[in-house]
């Protein structure tokens, strides 16, 4: 399956006391807010961020033939040697696998073959899930840097880490390229580069599923740090009145029961924020308890 390729162009427009560079990447609207006045400089810096986003998107996309992910997933049981960056991401995924007691697992993507979250009521049979589950599990992977070997039919998917990683990478590049303050926002996963000077803080809105008359979506002041959101907004199945979220438990093959509709976490880096929100979703009913114990600011929406 190939996804249609959106245009890779950059536009710069005036924001409130800043310049906003915009582009499409990783199936999301992306923007870089720059506290500078020079349009061409804003364009240059946005291009740097966009180039990094597109590079990571291409490198780790499931849909691009020939990239490292494709070679790994097509290996049919043979060992594949990976480059240093991929190696670090796989190391990171392994740490998360251990920290989450197995619930975060980059080999769980094949469950997609029986679970199609299109809003319909087609849930798979227990037998079908059991069959697919034989090709899921990090314990079935032989990982000795830089060699990765999996059973035939297994796949890895770095989509769960990719966007937040891209935000942090783009932020690092911008920090080195300029002394100004930036807000890097890839579709709601965002990070701040340097405390802003022209305002007290960058104002960021959290999307909220519910709209009580007074506040529909909270407004945060972010001086430094990052935000990431995990959500199930469009992806679910409705079968016999039960809503199955797209957060699948790789240990059972079934959706995590009682997962919140969305979790937003504020942390030092976008990667940490993203991982905390993902781990919270995987905890289902215990999401809030888990996040309380991490002593981070979070916003949990159970709709």
């Amino acid at each position: 399956m190939t996804s249609a390729r959106p245009e890779r162009s950059i536009s710069v427009e005036e924001g409130e006391g800043c310049l906003r560079g915009q582009f499409q990447a990783m199936a999301s609207p992306c923007e870089v807010l720059c506290e500078i006045d020079d349009h061409s400089e804003a364009r240059r810096l946005t291009s740097i961020a966009a180039a990094e986003a597109w590079r990571i998107e291409d490198k780790f996309s499931r849909y691009l033939p020939g990239n490292i992910i494709d070679r790994i997933n097509d290996a049919a049981g043979k060992a594949v040697a990976v480059d240093p960056e991929t190696s670090q991401l796989i190391d990171f995924a392994e740490s998360l696998h251990n920290l989450s007691e197995g619930r975060f697992d980059i080999t769980s993507g094949v469950l997609r073959q029986v679970w199609r979250f299109d809003g319909s009521s087609n849930i798979p049979t227990a037998a079908a899930v059991k069959k697919v589950l034989r090709r899921v599990g990090w314990h079935r992977v032989k990982w000795n840097t830089p060699q990765l070997q999996m059973l035939p039919g297994m796949e890895i998917d770095l989509g769960g880490i990719g966007k937040e990683y891209a935000v942090d990478r783009a932020a690092t590049l911008l920090r080195d390229e300029s002394v100004a303050s930036f807000l890097v926002n890839f579709g709601g996963d965002l990070a701040v580069v340097r405390e802003p000077r022209r305002r007290k803080a960058w104002k960021v809105g959290i999307e909220s599923a519910n709209t009580k008359s007074r506040d529909a979506g909270k407004l945060l002041s972010l001086q430094i740090g990052a935000l990431a959101t995990s959500g199930d907004a469009r992806r679910y199945l409705l079968h016999e009145q039960i809503r199955y979220s797209h957060i699948l438990d790789p240990l059972t093959g079934w959706p995590v029961p009682d997962a919140p509709h969305s979790v937003t976490v504020a942390a030092d880096t976008c990667t940490q924020a993203g991982m905390l929100s993902t781990l919270a979703m995987l905890k289902g009913a215990q999401a809030e308890t888990f996040l309380d114990a991490q002593m981070v600011r979070y916003w949990c929406d159970r709709g």
Partner: protein, 445 residues
Amino acid sequence: MSNKNKLNITSALAAATCTLLGSGAAEPVQAQEELGWGFNTALLYYGEDDNRVQDLSLSVLGQRTYLDDKFLSLGLTLDTLTGASPNGALPQSVAQTFTQPSGGKTYTTPAGEFPYDDTFRDTRVAISGNWQQPLGRMSLFNVGASASKEYDYLHLGLNAKFSHDFNQRNTTVSAGLAISQDELDPVGGTPTGLTEMISASDDDGEDGEGGRRKGPAESKDIIDVVFGITQVISRNFLVQVNYSYSDSSGYLSDPYKVLTAVDGVTGDVVPVPQLPGIDGPSHLYYYEHRPDSRAKHSIYTQGKYYMDGKVLDLSYRYMTDDWEINSHTIDARLRWPTGDNRYLEPHLRFYSQTAADFYTLSLVDGDALPEYASADYRLGDFDAITAGLKYGWKTGGGNDMSVRLELYRQSGNISSTDLIGNQVGRDNYPDLNAIIFQVGYKFGK
């Protein structure tokens, strides 16, 4: 899992991220929710033509969100009222003299003019507070109190409301209750209904003849209940329907208003004998008398429709009560964005009401007095229209500001069959023309 273990996730995660990103330890995040006080202030001028009522008021509403979606709002309003009000009597081809409510003095209305009592200068202070908090995930609870004081009037009230969302928050049902206990201590005492207007020197303040007594203050108790449903119809369309019931009991009359007694044939005022050395009314007038209870039912429906950046707000209210008053109100507003954070909002309101069953222009001298009667134009049969324009923008500091100018016009519907004799040629309803001008400013959170 022990607490110690849980905390290990944070530091372990930080370490893993550090390794991944290759940079040193990141700066600790600083993120706060925008909590804090927000203020909504308004300065209002209301002015009727013909030297009638003018009101200047200043209102401040402070609001604050607390953690866990709790919400407090506190309000304060100060207003000063000056100018003249129709006293219920009718224009005549002769001058008319009335006793002031405070007694001791009289005032005279020239021939051909509407009798106005211009002795009112009043200042009012009103405060209100409301606390809102969630009850579980899908319900909301509101509790509030209000109080106001003016020279002759004290109001105390409590209210509570409960609302519940369901159907994925597309439907909200709510129920509310408000109770008020008001006290009226009329200047000069409370007149006995449908007794003759006293003379100015009849100021002994004691009970008995003269029709006014300085007794304890009159009280008025009001209970209001409201039931409502709000329904999301589509992404751009929201509708609300409310049913309200209101029950008032106690002293509901206006102690400062009178009715004219007229000759049954000519329709002219009936002079009363003027005693030497005593200042008093020139003609026969009776203090009004309203029933001591009133039950009102209202149905109110409102819709908000979003079309391409513009918002149409349309509402209709039907009210009916046991005083035989029925009213229709149609209110339409269109918010029209005109640029960056600027908008124009034209406003149109139509109102019409039928008269109370005890409303009458005048009493016929010689006929038996009815149990209840009032000539207060506000209980009569009339139509009113408001047309206005509001302009809103964001100031340099990012705060919302607005100005609005509205014209309000009220005109009576008096059928000629209600008129007696010479009343036919005269103006019998004090048509109202007023300007509403308001400046609003929001700041804070």
